[in-house]
């Protein structure tokens, strides 16, 4: 599904990604871990198409096509979803209007008719239930006045609405209490299928108790320095990152 080869990216000339290689197949859950400043969020941004970052080297193929050629909206319509670490508040744009526009733009991209208002509202209701999103929040402006937990829940709600093939969840667990974490993780697990894949970017092993990864990668200085199974996360929890950093230095 996704194949990243030797990806380098910088911002204002400062190199943040320093040769990333990653293969993600349908049905898989990958966790990307690493200390602050290791490039985790940059990777998510580059995959989402944020123009702030310049890709200087490497390739990203998505279903065989060059992902980096596509605009952010085309990537989304092709099934890539980014769960933002800091979801943006957009006063004046209602959640309903936002989601309706997004769903119908994506349908248009696929050559489908727009959903009728009735069908759309039905879809909203189903998905709200899935992530236990407060009905009142959906009537408000996008993320405006939402608590940290509500914002993250809203990300998963959007993911449920848009049914992506590849979800990249950037620090979805940050700022969540244990109940919110459980709800968010449940949402992700319910949406999981053999057709789609998830990349979970996280600091802590905690989220991985709820969303069990097939692979764990450690990102450090813009490079994946170690990959393993879910047990790697536990090892990191126990030992921290230092032993790996030292390894990196030795290399």
């Amino acid at each position: 599904m996704l194949s990243i080869k030797n990806l380098h990216a910088n911002i204002d000339g400062k190199e943040i990604l320093n040769g990333i290689d990653l293969e993600v197949k349908a049905g898989e859950v990958h966790a990307i871990m690493g200390p602050n400043g290791s490039g985790k969020s940059t990777l998510a941004s580059v995959l989402a198409g944020r123009e702030l970052f310049e890709v200087t080297e490497g390739k990203v193929k998505y279903f065989g096509n060059d992902l980096l050629e596509l605009s952010p909206e085309e990537r989304a319509s092709e099934g890539i979803f980014i769960g933002f670490q800091y979801p943006i508040e957009i006063p004046g744009v209602s959640m309903v209007n936002f989601m309706k526009t997004a769903v119908n733009e994506q349908r248009k991209h696929k050559g489908l008719e727009p959903l009728s208002s009735q069908d759309f509202l039905k879809l909203m209701r189903e998905k709200k239930a899935l992530v236990e999103l407060d009905a009142a929040l959906a009537n408000r402006s996008v993320n405006e006045g939402f608590s940290g937990g509500e914002k993250k829940r809203n990300e998963i709600f959007q993911m449920a609405m848009l049914e992506p093939k590849l979800s990249i969840l950037d620090e979805t667990d940050s700022g969540l209490d244990i109940d919110a974490l459980r709800v968010v993780a449940n949402g992700v697990n319910k949406l999981k299928s053999s057709e789609n894949a998830t990349i979970v970017i996280t600091h802590y092993q905690r989220l991985l108790e709820y969303i069990v990864p097939d692979f764990v990668h450690v990102l450090y200085n813009g490079k994946i320095i170690k990959s393993g199974g879910k047990e790697l996360a536990l090892e990191l929890e126990e030992k921290g990152y230092d032993w790996l950093k030292k390894g990196e230095l030795v290399q």
Binding site: S71, R75, A102
Partner: protein, 455 residues
């Protein structure tokens, strides 16, 4: 009848125009109106047109606009058109009676005054001045200041017709009254309508005004409207400016609010070559509330200039000003808002905000919110912002599959909606939301053959 003018010094030109036509101007106006006319003419001779040295008109050179050899309408010109072909009013909540002004003259010359339930009157200002001298005398030229602003003096010197609304004590007009200002002629014309709105105590009314051009020549408008809002009266005023890019308009609104009265005034500027809106409010009693809002959407070489003067003369009044604008291409604009809190106006609450989005590097806005406070127990704020669309918000929308153009529209629409949502007639609000959406998409007719059935 109409008159052609020769291009000489602009002020001299209008002085000459007045002197040549004063018999005609005065012929069908009552004596008390002509007295005010003469005084105003004297003031105009002194004041002339405001130039750029005048702080109030710093960003809009009106003198230049009046240089063109516009034809002036000293008496109504007989232009017939099918009203129903142009305006099919399909907002069910509005009053079915549509009031039309054509080039500043009350259009329905057969029925110049209409009586509404409860003894309210709507119709031609000129006719009202003749039929109801006591009433008109009490209010006409009492609020619009001909001594300070040459433009107001000019309008008053040439005063003929416009809209007259009278709502007697205790009368409530349920359905909003729609007034359409139409500019239509084969030649360039200058229109100076004069409007008078009188709401006596405990009355209530709602008025929707639309400004339109229906033919291609360039038009210039210099209009004055006076509003007397009696004690406990409630007045809602919405205005839509949608003229073609060859049109220039200067409008002056003067509100005098008595104790515990309420005014909501909302101006939506959709199109126009040059628009200068002056709003002057005098809160002349305790417990008044005034909300003055404006939204302007400009592009190409359009120019918009909003000026507000909010005078808190008595304690315990509240005023809110919110002006928002989106400027595209090389459009230019200005906002100059002043809140004056007089010494005795304790417990005043006055808020003022002007927010602008510039879509290009060439678009330009000058904004100057001002507070002048002489009381010590007040709550006032003012602020202005000029910025671009929020890049993070734009990216967030795009990351959900919404294309860049649509995402920008969503953000601009959201920005504009703060003003639109203050419109109090629900059906009108929806219609304006739709018009603004179309305007932002560039789909709104900007030509003379306006078929938008705006209300």
């Amino acid at each position: 009848m109409s008159l052609d003018t020769v291009k000489i010094d602009t002020k001299e030109k209008f002085i000459e125009l007045y002197e040549e036509n004063q018999d005609l101007l005065k012929s069908d106006s009552p004596e008390y109106v002509n007295k005010i006319r003469e005084k105003a003419f004297g003031n105009f001779q002194k004041l002339g047109f405001p130039n750029k040295k005048n702080e109030q008109y710093k960003y809009t050179d009106l003198n230049k606009e009046f240089e063109n050899g516009y034809k002036t309408y000293i008496s109504p010109k007989n232009i017939r058109f099918q009203v129903n072909d142009i305006f099919r009013c399909d907002v069910p909540e509005l009053n079915t009676k549509v009031i039309l002004l054509l080039n500043g003259w009350y259009y329905d010359r057969e029925n110049l005054i209409h009586e509404l339930p409860g003894g309210a009157l709507i119709g031609s200002f000129q006719k009202a001045a003749e039929l109801y001298p006591e009433l008109v005398k009490r209010h006409f030229a009492k609020y619009a200041d001909t001594e300070k602003d040459g433009m107001v003096a000019l309008n008053t010197a040439f005063v003929k017709d416009g809209v007259f609304l009278y709502v007697p004590k205790g009368v409530v007009i349920e359905k909003p009254i729609q007034i359409i200002n139409i500019l239509m002629d084969e030649e360039e014309g200058l229109t100076q309508h004069r409007n008078l709105y009188i709401l006596e105590e405990n009355s209530q009314a709602s008025v929707v005004v639309c400004d339109h051009t229906l033919s291609t020549p360039n038009f210039l408008t210099n209009s004055v409207s006076e509003f007397y809002i009696g004690q406990n009266a409630h007045f809602d005023f919405s205005r839509m400016q949608n003229e073609h890019n060859g049109s220039k308009q200067v409008s002056h609104l003067y509100f005098q609010q008595e104790r515990n009265s309420y005014v909501n005034a909302n101006t939506i500027s959709l199109h126009g070559g040059l628009i200068r809106n002056n709003v002057n409010v005098l809160l002349n009693g305790e417990g008044c509330e005034n909300n003055t809002y404006g939204l302007y959407l400009t592009d190409k070489g359009q120019h918009i200039d909003n000026y507000v003067h909010m005078d808190h003369a008595y304690p315990n009044c509240t005023s809110n000003q919110l002006f928002k604008g989106v400027l595209d291409d090389f459009a230019t604009g200005a906002f100059n808002g002043k809140v004056l809190v007089r010494k005795d106006a304790q417990k005043t609450q006055a808020f003022q905000a002007n927010n602008n989005i510039l879509l290009t590097d060439d678009a330009d806005i000058n904004t100057k919110p001002q507070l002048e406070i002489y009381a010590d127990d007040v709550k006032c704020s003012h602020g202005a912002t000029v910025g671009q669309l929020d890049e993070d918000a734009l990216f967030y929308l795009r990351a959900r599959g919404i294309n860049k153009k649509e995402a920008k529209l969503l953000l601009m629409y959201a920005f504009a909606n703060d003003v639109i949502k203050a419109i109090q007639v629900p059906a009108l609000k929806e219609r304006i939301q739709d018009l603004v959406d179309k305007r932002l998409r560039g789909e709104l007719s900007r030509c003379n053959s306006c078929q938008m059935h705006c209300c």
